[in-house]
Amino acid sequence: MNLYAYNPTWPRHEAIQAQARRWHKRGLLTPEQLGAIEAAFPLEFYRPHLFLRIGLFLFTTLGALFAAGFAGVLAQFHFLGTLLPVLLVGGVTLELVIAGKHLYHSGADNALLYLELLGLVVLIFDLTFAHLNEYGYADHLDPTPGTLRLALALLLTLAVLVLATLRYADRLVAAAAYLCALLLFANGVLMLPLGTLLLPFALSAASAGAHAWATRQLARPERLPYHRCLRVLRALTLGTAYLAVNYLVVREGNAELLSSGNWTGPAPQIPRAPLFYGLTAGIPVFYLVQGLRRPDRTWLWLGLLTAAFSVYTLRYYRSVLPPETAAVLAGVLLAGGAAWATRYLRHSRHGLTSTPDDAEDPQLNLESLIVAETAHAAPAPAETFQFGGGSSGGGGATGEY
């Protein structure tokens, strides 16, 4: 049996058609050439429009959960008696619809896969934490960091997730597998003496290593079926490399680990705090510079996100300015800077431009809805309305009454 569940020509033809369409939009291919390419590399799988995928995902989840509930009623809610047959039927259904209906990340197969894996992970944790106790291993009921039993559960989970990623090449499962591997690694480090001191640096280094690995794999043509997963991993590894040494995460995580969760009040200061200040401030700048110099959108977006989280970290511990003054200043800087950059890059400079790139995939036209969602239109006229925190009150676009 082939390890890859889908037909390997599907991702190949999809990538060729997508690239050809981008070139056509830039006027580098004639419509006839595009038509010929689409005929030579046909798409023989089923993946509908995004909103249909959302609908398929929701209704598959709903139906599968109620079907599992029905099985539960039949088995009189015996735990394993319900879970095992449901997992078996679900797995067979998933394989059959992919083989028979040529579903390819179409929403329905995603939903079945996620539910199947969720059931398997529940089964693994139930076996390692609840059922081992029945045979005289009763020491811990809850997962505790730095124990062999958690390592066992995570190892089994990781094996399931990695196999599922290799077979179905799903982006969310790949991300979950990576995070699980990172947890397993952290659990191993915590078993060492001085583990808590090493943990941030070990995790950050491991993330950086994973990033380099994913980037190298992306360059290899035979990894094409997994390119979607690898792109997600490239972004995720940059995120974890930053979070592992972020001051807020380290300080709160340190207090959480040392007190095993019953700490009250603010977390105490951590050793070598200046080093973490520096990393929290420096990494976003490094990411942004890399993103603009390469140029690479993954670095750029992670730079923006980590910069936002660094600002949050700063304001969590120190109130530098009153919030409204800070908001006005940040707003002026952001809007002014972006407007300046837009004008400056109107004609491309340094290989960068502010005009839309025809070779980019068109974005969903949801902008007007987002504006309605975040920009509060009407002022609230009630006398009782107090202007405290936030901006000008009000709810979303549709439930405005």
Partner: protein, 334 residues
């Protein structure tokens, strides 16, 4: 797949003359990297932070000499934004206007947000409009709708529609809507249904008459969501008010609107409306089925009702999935 690999593949299949491949290679190497989306996001974030921060700042300095300065500054900034947007305004057309850049759009948005800040401040501080709360909400609604058409801006249109919804809410139930949190009660929900119908009609009319046809999406999505949310909430309300519409009428209304949405989706290939239509219709039908099952339940063996429900949901979900998968055949799309 790297562009180079695709080129090799196309050349092998003789779908591309080598000279053209060379041109594509050159374009790939020299094409500048577009920061369009990132800059728009930062610009939008900055505008929201700025108008929100100013909105609070103005009240912090209410008792100081400086607050007149803040009011003057906001007014100047607002006028500046409107002026900049007006200077770069594309000439009016009933079709979608071509744009030179996106900066004037965002200036207009900031101007509108600052207008709300200013208007709210004048009302709270000086009771500028007295107790005519309807006017307070109707003024931005009228202004924004006018600006949306004049400047051809869908974001401002959405803000105008939201202000219009507030105006209806304030007119139907002055103050109590804000005092008690019963947003979806009887007359209010009926008014929301009416407004939703009106917005949907406006959307269909704008498309049919070719008057800003690209506004139809905003009108229809906001209007139908308002209507369907209000109707569904009233339907699922255990203690309906005396003025609520009867459930049978609500179910018919929801199903009718959903059918209209699916019909519109079929014409315009808009899968969002298709998803909304199917989702709301499914909720309404499930409501009818559950009401029917509960009404006919034999309370001696009421486990049977649950069994039927557990069977109904998976079977109906499979039905919806089959509908989605075969949508092109069923609706006769391309």
């Amino acid at each position: 797949m790297l562009p180079e690999a695709v080129l090799t593949e196309l050349l092998e299949h003789q779908l591309l003359p080598p000279a053209q491949a060379e041109r594509i290679r050159q374009d790939e190497a020299t094409r500048p990297f577009s920061l369009h989306r990132e800059l728009r996001l930062l610009l939008y974030l900055g505008i929201v932070l700025l108008s929100g921060g100013l909105g609070v700042l103005i009240y912090q300095h209410i008792n100081e000499i400086g607050h007149g300065v803040v009011v003057a500054a906001i007014t100047l900034l607002m006028l500046g934004c409107f002026g900049y947007a007006a200077r770069h305004r594309p000439p009016f057309t009933w079709a979608e206007a071509p744009r030179a850049g996106f900066l004037p759009d965002y200036a207009l948005l900031l101007g509108c947000l600052l207008f709300i800040t200013l208007e709210t401040y004048l009302q709270v501080q000086y009771s500028f409009f007295g107790t005519r709360y309807g006017l307070v909400t109707l003024l931005p609604a009228g202004l924004f709708l006018g600006l949306a058409y004049w400047f051809d801006h869908r974001g401002v249109l959405a803000m105008g529609i939201t202000a219009l919804a507030s105006w209806v809410g304030v007119t139907i139930q002055p103050l109590s809507a804000f005092a008690t949190n019963n947003f979806w009660h009887s007359r209010l929900s009926t008014a929301a249904i009416g407004l939703g119908l009106g917005l949907m009609a406006a959307g269909i009319a704008s498309e049919r008459l070719g008057r800003k046809a690209h506004f139809a999406f905003t009108y229809l999505s906001l209007g139908s969501n308002l209507l369907l949310l209000a109707a569904t909430a009233t339907l699922l309300d255990f203690t309906p008010g005396p003025d609520s519409l009867p459930p049978a009428l609500l179910v018919l209304l929801i199903l009718g609107v959903c059918a209209a949405l699916i019909w519109h989706a079929r014409r315009t290939h808009s899968y969002l409306f298709l998803l909304m239509g199917v989702g709301y219709a499914y909720t309404a039908v499930t409501y009818v089925v559950v009401r029917f099952l509960v009404a006919t339940a034999d309370y001696g063996h009421d486990g049977g009702v649950f069994m039927l429900l557990f069977l109904y949901v998976p079977l109906s979900a499979v039905g919806v999935i089959l509908f989605f998968v075969n949508i092109k055949k069923i609706l006769g799309l391309r």
